[in-house]
Subunit: 368 residues, 4 copies
């Protein structure tokens, strides 16, 4: 693992998720640019090899026959691109946090690198790992909703409702700093999760957007709230709302899809339930673990119905698909790529760029 | 009552709401332009006097010392203006369905008439009659949310998801007919309820909007879906989403308000509950009928907590305030006007006009 | 109306419920044994005739050709029997609050009176008036649940969690006084609603019970909490839990029925929803006002789906059935009796008597 | 691990839970009495050492300096006792599935063994691992509820609503077989979880019970449904309801506690939420991950609020406490025992025995 050292919440998420199914083990790390923290973090996880430079790690591990099969990048956004490039160039598969990179140009280069080479790349848009989200996607695909008419997606939080970045909070500091987070704060951090979820579930890409980004907390340099009108390929319309200043919200990610024959609704904070609304019929409450679900949902469910699975298990489902591909590629088989990759990363970067541009221009429609 | 005859759902809503507290009785009506239906409807309600023309009714009742104290207008939209004018001119107080009129010009004339004269006017934006909505308004007013930052209001239904207007449904026919419904379908019919609810609760008026209206069902002449970005006086931003083609939704009217210190959330389909989200604290579930509520909420609650009150009781609360004012005016006292009136009606018409104009111009920001 | 004067919550419930459909009007009353309160209460409701004695009222109204068609009894429990007897003897139909009487003997005499004579009798077990409850009953009747296996019914409140009866609360005083409330407090007041709901929905009578009644608040003379094991005719088992000291509960009445093919669940505080659980299928959320409901549910629904109806509307449904019967009997037709009557009242009295006896004997099984 | 081989759901639960925090690794196993399955299961988990006999495993591992620190027993109930005895006797710490043993006598011997020796013993009453359950316990302990008055605990499922044991289902077969499951089916399997949860949260032990057990499915040899009246030390009363034939229920484990000052409510299927009901106040919705929770809840929370944690994480919390104790004991420190142990196991066996005895005697009160 690169990054994710002591104090970084996402580091142990990656560790647990990667190891949950007993198919991988984290053995080496460059977990912090501070040597002390890097060493301590590695020791806390009983890592076999620790590095203070990701470049060293890439070259050493690539040179070692018993070196790592893949690397996990859990750094702030500005390092995603250089670290990913280093490992891809060394021929090591990559799992990387979103967003893919800081800029479109960087993102496009990573796309080229991945599409040229034999190395695999997974981007942890982890919410698509929930079984109920897989179920929703497959119901849309199978035409159970008819023609999609309207989509509403939301991701609201409140953790940045105060100016934490000026009160010593490291997470807040880099996430509100254009140099480290990129063009956007809220849209980049959570808006892209919502955008990715929407495109994953509907299978229909966003064609155009009209955005209104806000910087609610005084002195903040990046947006912390946004409302975005959407038009989807195929004619559906929709809204994407994201906020990091929505007082009282924890991690309220939800999606609603309305079609000509049925609707769907899912809430990340009640992740095992998917509501299915057929025209003229009672709402049905589909539940993870039940036998009536589609194979794709069952394939990523570990527990019988009624034993709640959560965020970590969904995250682990991204890893599960990726690790199966690593194994396939190792055996000379073709990868299946049942997880988000560079193309999804590039779409996210375009979404960020156009949302920022639309808002700056006074909320005009821009194509994606 | 004018309109509201056999087959019109809203007619008996008005009857029950007006009479619920035992302070008024419907005694006369011009309930349909079809003499037969007018007579039958009047008989079904045991009315003492029935008319086939609203103009006759206005003049006869005005001339009768024992004539009606106020009239209820429950006709399609195109008749609101002429009927209201007739009764106001005859010196009879008016309760009128929304929208106030078909056009801004008509609305402005009604404003002049009401503001000039001694007659009272109530517009049945009935959702503001719910005790929890009164509570929400007063909490905002008292500063319990701090500065308002973001507002999300929604009103979704599915009853027009099929082209009922071409299948003999009278309600659908007039509501999708520009000549009888006005400039807009969905925004006019339910969007204005959402707009009124938002302004009622926040006390802050909508300053500008950027709208995207859709005509989802093929062949329909008025919008049946809309997504609208909002800016409020004072700096808050928000969204208003309304739809009549949202498959599976019944009458999903909800509002969320996020402030710098707390948030509020209310759902019309669970009307006795108001969720209060103070920063850093557990969500609190305020319930109608409880002693901790504010006086304005208690004043419009009839039942102890846990005995659900609903749509009719909320509707009756608009009547309760209005009838108290009728009594006050009758005693020579000043009216209190604790219910929506012509000004709210005019704002609704402006909202409709600007939403339609913004959308036609390709979603541009327009002031209200 | 007899009883229900100023300060009695249930009085105006009866008034609103009786008049809601515009088919009856309260015109006379003996609303309090205090002449002053009786007069004031009658004036507040614009009653035409007021009495200070129910006996006078019964004889006067019976003698008057334009006298009342039926009487509403909304007194404390100890007066149900004498008042009901007086009006039944005078040939006036009766609507009476539950319980039917103070003792089984009184109840049995009322059964004889009603079954002998031409007069109608309705007992306001109002919760059976909810459309979703009618739906549940008809689904069980139609065999949609298969064989009933297990039933769970609950009615919990907290309004008596403090000794209000010793703090001047009149409602609490008579409800905890054996002389006025009868053998039981909590079981009599709300437990019988739960028992009636269970028998109404399942159609299967309680065959035996094993009860544990408690007097939680020190100094109280009647039970304020009970847990009761049940056996139903046909072999199903179940539990009935009621409490008036369940801190934080408002009016939590709920029922769950589990059969060999499906289950049902209903909560009074969300009354428009009925959950239907077919084996191996997603839960379905049936909603009042929808076209897929059974005729019996539709017949008592006034609003389109999504416009919440509540306690008053359910109460009014008991009156609706009763008033239709009053009209039928007036026309010489046979009554339909689609509302609880003396037999249901008698079962309630037996339930109370056996629950108290079982608990006193140390929780032994007693037949009902 | 002993047991838990291919096809046993609980095996991989234990593996994931034990390893989740990166503090333990499963390296050896006697995972099935079928040598083939034992080998395959061990290979699937990359185990270093595999055995076909638990006795061999106990002696070999005890003899090996690099042998296991503790064993996990995930067999059917009848093997808990002999396997536990073997490993305890060999000086190896034990984590064991509930129930502790088949009989009270066996359970008492395990208590003696554990209390005599230096070895640690954890019983996986995993539901007490949820952060919200720890929070509830500490709120009761701190007196936030006042005096406990009433407790309602429930655990309902439907997986045995058909006679799966006669259709080749192995899980169903041993769980309904007295020789392998013990005295009771439903009470033993899930009723004891409910009993343990109740005692854990209230800190007040069950003093007496009055039970009605049923064998709903024809031909079944053990109970599959039970309703039990409870009396707690200190005077509170309550009910415990469990069922494996409750059509439509997945794993509906819930607890409600009512005190003289407040109430609490928790549902396992929404595990991150704890409802707190203070007298006269709005319900508060406490959420896992929030800063206002008590230290004991925070100590077992891995994710920020709004990132759902579930069954596996709660299970892992039992392991976390146990592994910390293993480390402490290894360092010569005193264990903390913040997890269920043999005493809780013995109480569960007594609860089963008395529930069965009470029901057989016709629902009489028996002391625990």
């Amino acid at each position: 693992m690169v990054g994710g050292g002591r104090g970084a919440f996402i580091g142990s998420v990656h560790r647990i998720a990667a190891e949950l199914d007993g198919q991988a083990q984290i053995v080496a790390g460059a977990m912090s640019s501070h040597p002390e923290i890097a060493r301590e973090s590695a020791a806390a996880w009983f890592l076999e090899r620790t590095y203070t430079s990701y470049a060293d790690m890439a070259s050493s591990e690539a040179a070692d026959r018993e070196g790592i099969d893949f690397v996990i990048i859990a750094t702030p956004n500005d390092l995603h691109y250089p670290v990913a490039r280093a490992f891809l160039s060394a021929g090591i598969h990559v799992v990387c946090d979103k967003p893919l990179a800081l800029t479109l140009a960087e993102g496009e280069e990573l796309v080229r690198l991945v599409e040229a080479g034999p190395t695999l790349f997974a981007l942890t848009h982890n919410y698509t790992g929930y079984p109920a989200v897989r179920q929703a996607r497959d119901m849309v695909r199978a035409g159970q909703l008819g023609e999609i008419r309207k989509v509403m997606v939301e991701y609201t939080q409140d953790w940045l409702m105060e100016p934490l970045e000026s009160r010593g909070n490291k997470q807040a500091a880099w996430r509100t700093d254009p140099a480290r987070a990129g063009l956007s704060g809220c849209v980049g951090d959570i808006g892209t999760h919502a955008q990715n979820l929407l495109e994953f579930v509907t299978g229909g890409q966003i064609e155009a957007l009209c955005a209104d980004l806000s910087c609610v907390v005084a002195g903040r340099r990046l947006d912390d709230d946004a409302s975005i009108l959407l038009r989807l390929r195929g004619g559906a319309k929709g809204t994407l709302i994201c906020s990091q200043v929505a007082c009282g919200e924890e991690n309220r990610l939800s999606i609603r899809v309305y079609g000509s024959q049925a609707g769907l609704e899912w809430h990340q904070q009640d992740p095992s339930t998917l509501i299915y609304k057929r025209a003229g019929s009672p709402w049905e409450r589909l539940r993870t673990g039940q036998s009536y679900l589609r194979p794709s949902a069952k394939a990523v469910t570990r527990m019988p119905a009624g034993h709640p699975e959560g965020y970590l298990e969904a995250f682990a489902n991204i890893y599960r698909g990726f690790i199966e591909d690593v194994r396939r590629v190792g055996l000379g088989q073709a990868p299946v790529r049942d997880y988000p990759g560079v193309q999804e990363g590039l779409r996210g970067l375009r979404f960020i760029a156009q949302a920022v541009a639309s808002s700056r221009a006074g909320s005009v429609w821009l194509n994606l």
